[in-house]
């Protein structure tokens, strides 16, 4: 119990001090994870919607694969992107390894299946409800996908938030492709891992509390935006 109180105090002190290193780490964490989630949404939402609407051979297999990839271990995603971006790998000439861009790529790999799978499930329910109408009106498939995404936009926020939760919390992928370089690729989670290694458990947990508070704040904001937007839409 004593340790937990110390950690809370450490977190509080860090926030109050406005430490510039901490601010840099926090903003890097957020910009990487948010960018990854936005990119993953651009890829994953249409994919999820298409899987919900379009019937094609092998579709079930693809659905199973996407669902399974939700459980992709971050360290495997990291290793995959590492080998891709390494100087000895196929994209090595880009020189992206150990940069924030590499971390975004790894998180996109990690998060896209989560967003696609949740979106598919949600939109499939919606599709079942409105299917007759769309078919009656003779709406094309591409427009159906777009329209369904729009119709489900409030619920789909949950898919994006689930993706963000994964992105902000993971350490395995970004540690491998980012290298935890101080001032360049050190994020909240890799800093926590480092402080744990140094045996500074209080500071590590303090950083963890700050990370949790941030995720809480983002979720609260999303909830607020969703409720407001829904009210406006209903008027």
């Amino acid at each position: 119990m004593h340790d937990l109180l110390d950690a809370l105090a450490a977190a509080w002190q860090l926030i109050l001090s406005g430490d510039s290193t901490l601010v840099a780490i926090v903003s890097l964490s957020l910009s990487i994870s948010l960018t990854a989630v936005v990119l993953a949404s651009v890829l994953g939402l249409p994919l999820g919607a298409a899987l919900a609407v379009v019937r094609f051979p092998g579709q079930n297999v693809l659905v199973v694969v996407v669902n399974a990839l939700m459980g992709l271990p971050p360290v495997v995603a990291g290793l995959f992107v590492y080998l891709l971006l390494s100087r000895s790998g196929p994209l090595g000439s880009l020189g992206l390894l150990f940069t924030p861009t590499a971390m975004v790529i790894a998180q996109v790999v990690l998060v896209t299946p989560i967003i696609a799978a949740i979106a598919r499930q949600m939109l499939e329910d919606l599709w079942r409800e409105y299917r007759e109408l769309y078919i009656l009106d003779g709406v094309g498939r591409v427009r159906t996908v777009g329209s369904l995404l729009w119709l489900g936009r409030f619920s789909l926020l949950t898919a994006a938030l689930a993706g963000l939760g994964r992105a902000a919390a993971e350490v395995g992928a970004i540690l491998i492709v980012g290298g935890n370089i101080a001032g360049v690729t050190r994020t909240m989670t890799t800093a926590i891992a480092l402080e744990t290694s140094r045996g500074d458990l209080t500071l590590a947990l303090g950083l963890g509390i700050i990370l949790l508070s941030l995720i809480l704040a983002i979720n609260a904001t999303a909830q607020f935006v969703r409720n407001t937007a829904r009210r406006v839409a209903e008027i």
């Binding site: 936005v38 651009v42 940069t99 045996g199």
Partner: protein
Amino acid sequence: MTKLLRSLAAAFLLLLAASVAVAQEPFITVASTTSTEESGLFGYLLPAFTKETGIQVRVVAVGTGQALKIGERGDCDVVFVHDTPSELAFVEHGFGIDRREVMYNNFILVGPKSDPAHVEGGKDIVIAFRKIADTKAPFVARGDDSGTSKAEMRLWKEAGIDPKTAGGGWYRDTGSGMGPTLNTAAAMDGYTLSDRGTWLSFKNKQNLTIVVEGDRRLFNQYGVMLVNPVKHPHVKQDLGRKFSDWLISANGQKTIADYKINGAQLFFPNAKGSSS
């Protein structure tokens, strides 16, 4: 959708701006060991180098084995590690050039104050290892192909014991860095081999204390090498060489010696120019 695109563009620009701001200054990437980073040496040493040369140093701190692998694949410019046999092999296989010895410190055997294997105060590390195996006292091993792990395996070999097949569950292979291994040893009151630098800066010692030190077999040499530009033409050979030169210069050596925790010196400079 437009809102989504706009926030996407904004986030991307932010990231781009951040990476450009960093990329403007010349930098090298150094693959090094957890001991140099976790002990705080780099936090002390690198700003001095950057101040003198304007070159930023980006450190990827991993085990010696992984650091050499990063160099082998051409993903860093300089390798700064502590396992002489594998460093020499690295140069011999043409992955690295210009190996130089920079500094040393010592490995130490740490263990619980209760000392179930009765090794405290001993001066012979191999005898201590034998006693631990005989009493089946818990020993927490790195098992991650790091410099410390390789040194530990050499000591077991010298003791004539293969701990991995010894049985009895006393040998716990954690496959993790020095810090996590010390955390584990502290939690289970086990023995472990550590480098002195990480130990001195480690904050979660609990019941652990140094039980054996001072054996000459516990000598721990650090070496620096440039990644071979013939194998990997993109490496920043000139900037890397500046770093290597600075480490063995009078100024660099003095800065290494100046780094202390609670008055105790962590690393001892012993550069003598190029050795290969």
